[in-house]
């Protein structure tokens, strides 16, 4: 852990505008040369509820939210207005202050809006004594009056940002620029006044007792602030995807809405449809007719896609689907991240079905692997799924702008043109042999409806080369083998022709490994770094290829260590199970560290899991997580 980092938490009611405020503040930090990472907490209650956003910023690379935080801006909940509900909800206004104290680090700074949070109420939290004990530095300030004086009450966010900047010794120029870009003239003026006034009051009148200051940093090139959802959207656009069909469901909705904003602007089509069965079926229909298409959902909606997914596999229709996991089962915890849909995604749909599944670990990987998913889907005529979760979907981090400076890849893959169809094999009545028995790599190129000379039947029934329904045993075995061969060919291509999609970190010659998959990667990476700094010798890998499984790479990794801990956000150790199933061994080497309380891992928890594992102590983990020792232990 670096001391020289800021983890700023802004807490308020869910209508207090903390999203836009934090987004802009994160950008200001990024523009000032820092690496940033944001984390959004979602209220678990239906009725508004208070929430927070955290921004971690440092002069070095940050890949997780970190542990705890060191600066609280408690706005209070301005939407907590119904006195009758006191009995149920307690003092709502106080909660953004009261409920965030536990995770505040020693030496941390607290700013709260004394216009909304009564100083007497604050006193009831024992704030003074706790501040003393933890070396917290508390700065109450009447943000509300300041906002009202120059503009409207909602602008107290801006006042809060002004106070923050002043206390951190941060220059206002980037914040001003961003406000100028984002705000119409009418509200810009009062906001700027509020910002400056707040900054001035603090600088001139407050006596600073804290040490925390804005970290220093510099980027050697321009950065952009993006979430995993942005990256998946951009990866899709750059793959030439111009069709999406969907039905809203948290957290998948964020990609769906982003695509729906972009597509009409770039001549694409977005369809909100009656249900997820239709959504997946539409994606299949659009792709069948020659457009690069996608759909997606979260657990429950993805369950409805099971049958169209199988149809795509059987008819060899390329399609990309997203599975944006949330805590299950059933409706589960809609806004909480979990990695418990892995097995479901790998195996849903009847028969010996097969598909490609990638689990990106970072924003950059989300972009790259979305492109890879489209490439593979259209080249090999197979569904490709991106599995991710609320955590990756909502976390924003900075990526160099140049990262996106690449050529789009709108190719339809193994699809023939009319000229090529003239040369192709047809049956006596002119049907094109769309599903040929003999192929090089299992892929039999397709035609598109409307092309001259490409007529065939696509069917979910077993079929002959021209697509006729057929239950002949020889044809059956030939077609099954051909389709299944594609997955092996994809594995071969991924191994031989592309950079590995697995991310390795830590000390290469370490004999203890930490394995994770998908969105837990950044946290694990940070934990491994920390363990090595503490003198342990540990290496780690964030796995993205779920199917086809990276057998070779994982065997090499597991052969190189004596012991490994698999970290994942579920209770049934699904990825550990997958490793054992695919490799047929290593049960005695693999310990699991599991968490399923709705909150992602923090680096310190993984460090603790490691310590418990190597010390073999019988003590229970302090955090809500579970350590399941290796089979032989």
């Amino acid at each position: 852990m670096s001391d020289n980092e800021l983890i700023w938490r802004v807490a308020g009611g869910s209508g207090d505008g903390i999203d836009s405020t934090s987004q802009n503040f994160a950008k200001a930090l990024m523009r000032s040369g820092l690496d940033v990472f944001t984390h959004r907490h979602y209220p678990s209650r239906i009725r508004g509820g208070h929430t927070y956003v955290e921004i971690r910023a440092a002069g070095h690379n940050v890949q997780s939210r970190g542990d705890g935080y060191n600066f609280l801006l408690a706005l209070g909940d301005s939407f907590a207005r119904n006195p009758q509900e006191d009995a149920y909800y307690g003092n709502e206004e106080l909660k953004p202050l009261a409920e965030n104290l536990d995770e505040l680090r020693e030496g941390g700074v607290i700013v709260y809006d004394s216009g909304l949070i009564d100083e007497e109420d604050a006193a009831s939290l024992d704030l003074e004594a706790r501040a003393e004990e933890n070396d917290w530095h508390v700065y109450p300030m009447d943000l509300r009056s300041l906002a009202r004086e120059h503009g409207r009450e909602v602008m107290r966010n801006t006042a809060g940002v002004g106070v923050t900047a002043a206390l951190l010794g941060m220059d206002l120029s980037h914040i001003e620029d961003l406000m100028e870009d984002a705000m119409p003239e009418k509200i810009l003026e009062p906001n700027l006044e509020i910002l400056h006034e707040a900054h001035e009051i603090v600088t001139e009148e407050f006596e600073f007792t804290h040490d925390l200051r804005i970290p220093e940093g510099e980027h050697d090139e321009e950065q952009a602030l993006l979430s995993g959802s942005n990256a998946i959207t951009f990866g899709s656009i750059d793959s030439g995807c111009r069709f999406i069909a969907g039905y809203p469901m948290t957290p998948w909705t964020s990609v769906f809405t982003l695509m729906s904003q972009h597509l009409p602007e770039i001549g694409g089509i977005s369809e909100q449809v009656e249900d997820e069965i239709a959504a997946a079926a539409l994606a299949v229909g659009a792709s069948h007719a020659g457009v690069k298409a996608m759909s997606g959902s979260s657990g429950g909606g993805f369950a409805l896609m099971s049958e169209p997914l199988g149809l795509a596999e059987m008819t060899e229709t390329p399609v990309v689907l997203l599975e944006s996991m949330r805590a299950g089962p059933s409706t589960g915890m809609p806004t909480k991240p979990e990695q418990a849909d892995l097995e479901f995604t790998l195996y849903t749909s009847q028969g010996d079905s097969q598909r490609v599944v990638f689990a990106p670990g970072t924003v950059e990987e989300a972009y790259d692997q979305t492109r890879m998913a489209f490439y593979i889907a259209y080249e090999y005529q197979i569904p490709a799924i991106i599995i991710y979760d609320q955590k990756l979907s909502g976390e924003n981090t900075n990526v160099p702008v140049s990262f996106f400076d690449r050529e789009p890849e709108p190719t339809l893959g193994s699809t023939l043109t009319e000229a090529e169809l003239e040369e192709a094999v047809h049956d006596a009545s002119g049907k094109f042999h769309r599903f040929q028995h003999e192929t090089e790599n299992g892929v039999s190129p397709r035609s598109l409806p409307g092309q001259k000379g490409g007529r065939y039947l696509a069917t979910g029934n077993e079929h002959t080369p021209e697509g006729h329904i057929c239950e002949d045993p020889d044809n059956r075995v030939t077609q099954m083998d051909r389709r299944l061969q594609k997955l092996e060919e994809i594995r071969r291509e991924l191994d031989e022709e592309h950079e590995s999609q697995q991310t390795y970190f830590g000390e290469e010659d370490a004999t203890y490994g930490i394995i994770t998959w998908g969105s837990s990667q950044g946290v694990v990476e940070e934990a491994v770094e920390r363990l090595n700094e503490q003198g342990h010798s540990v290496k780690g890998v964030g796995v993205s290829d779920m199917m086809p499984f990276p057998e070779q790479e994982m065997t090499e990794f597991l052969e190189s260590v004596d012991e490994a801990m698999v970290v994942e956000m579920n209770v049934s150790a699904q990825f550990r199970g997958l490793i054992q199933k695919e490799l047929g061994r290593y049960g005695e080497k693999l310990t699991s560290l599991l968490k399923y309380n709705g909150n992602p891992f923090e680096p310190a928890e993984i460090v603790e899991g490691y310590e418990l594992n190597i010390e073999g102590s019988d003590t229970e983990p302090t955090a809500q997580m579970r350590l399941e020792p290796a089979a032989g232990d």
Binding site: E271, A281, G285, A289, F404, T417, G450, K452, R455
Partner: protein, 310 residues
Amino acid sequence: MSAFNAIGEERDIDRNEFTPGLEPQPTWCPGCGDFGVLKALKQALPEIGKTPDEVLTCTGIGCSGKLNSYLETYGFHTIHGRSLPVARAAKLANDGLTVIAAGGDGDGYGIGGNHFMHTARENHDITYIVFNNEVFGLTKGQTSPTSPRGHKSKTTPHGNAKSPIRPLSLALTSGATYIARTAAVNPNQAKEIIKEAIEHDGFAHIDFLTQCPTWNKDARQYVPYVDVQESDDYDFDIHNRQEAQEMMFETENALHEGTVLTGRYFVDERPSYQQEKKELGEMPTEPLAERYFDDDYEWERSYDLLERHK
């Protein structure tokens, strides 16, 4: 230059082009009404100048779903109940195509009922033929959403307690803009209705009575039938929603009282979904599928969309 030269191709079309060679031969039972739909389509398509390669026929699962096995067009035999979402997406992807969806009464009014309602509401420019034999044919005669009250089958041994769905009325309230009923025993009317439906700009629904002599012995062969346009006993305006509604209601009741009424019931000029979407700027005016073959097209890229993120 188009990458889809079958679309709009002007040439003489031989009726036999829509019939496959030796294989596959229809496996429908002798006397099955499904033959009537196949025949009517084979006649209708060339008469309106369509060639096999510019037509996409999407079917569901059932005896009826085999339609595109025996009809030479591009075909997509989908899954039970899902022909409509596949069909309408294909039309959105390439709106030069002539898209026909087809399936059984169980397929379209039961398991796929939600898609029926919404595809009609959205008024997609496709034709939907429902083979209504009032039973589940393929799975051996179980009661279907259109089986009459009292209908006995292995799943309702004491008779069906449910009233049948009203397919025409449902299409009307849902928003279909061309609605007709025809019968396999009336090939000329069927052919004409199919032609009109395909040429109609919007969602055209044909409830096609197809007798199932194997499992639905109670139902007669849908004879004698009456064409409501030709009969002097009926007089209503197919452009008038109220009048159409009453006529549909009467037709649906009459079927179970032994009178088979057929004909056109409703035609509306409401713009199709494709038209609406294009007008709003939510859909390109050129067929989207063409773009992937246009070497000069400058594909937009995310690099140019980053401004908001900097």
